[in-house]
């Protein structure tokens, strides 16, 4: 772990540790009450889920078309984070929806496309783990599908009728709610940066191990 990753991780950990008190001090939303507080973790996780998919897709495109070998490691790291932040989004969302909407899940455009994106990256990781030779290029193609899904997920709430709040909610939040939200976004983003750096480093180490084994075989 690099010094920078350690600082990011420590900062994120400290911020997430005090986050419950900051969230507790935020006012209750008028119609949903207490359960709306899930929002402060759900939304940052959802943003990072999409960001991880964008990074995985872009790095895969650079690997496939730009022949940049090291980009494959970044794509794999981001894909793993897409699965981690995706599961947080897909579990905290229904917990909130159960109280706010009266149901755990609804097959609308936002929820369904988010589930599909998560499944694409789970499939990507399975392919990379068990796919054998050539899985890196096949996986990169799959990550491009994931990337193509991101704008669809983002605009889905504004284009189709859905129970999910629209994207215009965040800019219109009052300061008492916006403050804790941006605090949580910063904490999650620092955590994301640290994890991405650590996971990409692990991939570089794996390449180094393979090189060392090859050198040993040749000797």
């Amino acid at each position: 772990m690099t010094k920078l990753n350690q600082i990011e991780l420590a900062l994120a950990g400290a911020m997430l540790a005090v986050a419950p008190w900051i969230i507790d001090a935020a006012p209750y939303e008028a119609t949903m009450g207490l359960v709306q507080k899930i929002f402060y973790f759900h939304m940052p996780a959802a943003w990072l889920f999409l960001l991880a998919a964008i990074i995985a897709g872009t790095a895969s495109a650079m690997f496939l078309f730009g022949k940049k070998r090291d980009m494959d490691g970044w794509a794999l790291a981001a894909a793993e984070l897409a699965v981690v932040f995706g599961i947080i989004t897909l579990v905290t969302g229904p917990l909130w929806a159960r109280k706010a909407w009266g149901i755990w899940w609804v097959w609308d455009a936002r929820l369904t496309s988010s589930l599909i994106l998560w499944m694409i990256f789970v499939a990507y990781l399975l392919l990379r783990r068990y796919g054998g030779p050539g899985a890196d290029k096949l996986g990169a193609g799959m990550a491009l599908f994931g990337l193509a899904n991101v704008p669809f997920i983002f605009v889905s709430v504004n284009v189709w009728r859905t129970l999910h709040p629209q994207t215009s909610v965040v800019p219109t939040l009052p300061v008492q709610m916006g403050g804790p939200l941006w605090f949580c976004i910063t904490a999650f983003f620092l955590l994301f940066l640290a994890l991405l750096g650590m996971r990409a480093r692990l991939e570089r180490q794996r390449v180094r191990i393979e090189d060392l084994y090859l050198a040993e075989d040749e000797a």
Binding site: H42, T92, W96, G102, L191, L212
Partner: protein, 86 residues
């Protein structure tokens, strides 16, 4: 064949009156406020909030721990391989 016909007729005769006396059910997309839902359908908000935050913490701590362990394992493997090369 005769038995099948008799069975079908019996089923029809039993189902028809049941369908006639059945109360109209509310449509699936009809709005029912949560406050009016039966108590067994209502879950306290605190349970859902606690479950959500608990889940986030478990996933984050679990992932950081797993990543740290994998990094440590890779580093020790590199050290062992480099030592063998010398």
């Amino acid at each position: 064949m005769r038995f099948c016909r008799a069975l079908f007729l019996a089923a029809l005769l039993t189902a028809a009156p049941a369908a006639l006396v059945a109360q109209p059910q509310p449509s699936a997309d009809e709005f029912v406020p949560m406050e009016e839902a039966p108590p067994e359908e209502q879950i306290p908000a605190i349970n859902l909030v606690a479950a959500a935050y608990g889940f986030v913490w478990i996933v984050v701590v679990g992932y950081v721990w797993s990543l740290g362990r994998r990094l440590q394992k890779a580093e020790s493997e590199i050290a062992a391989l480099e030592q063998r090369r010398r």
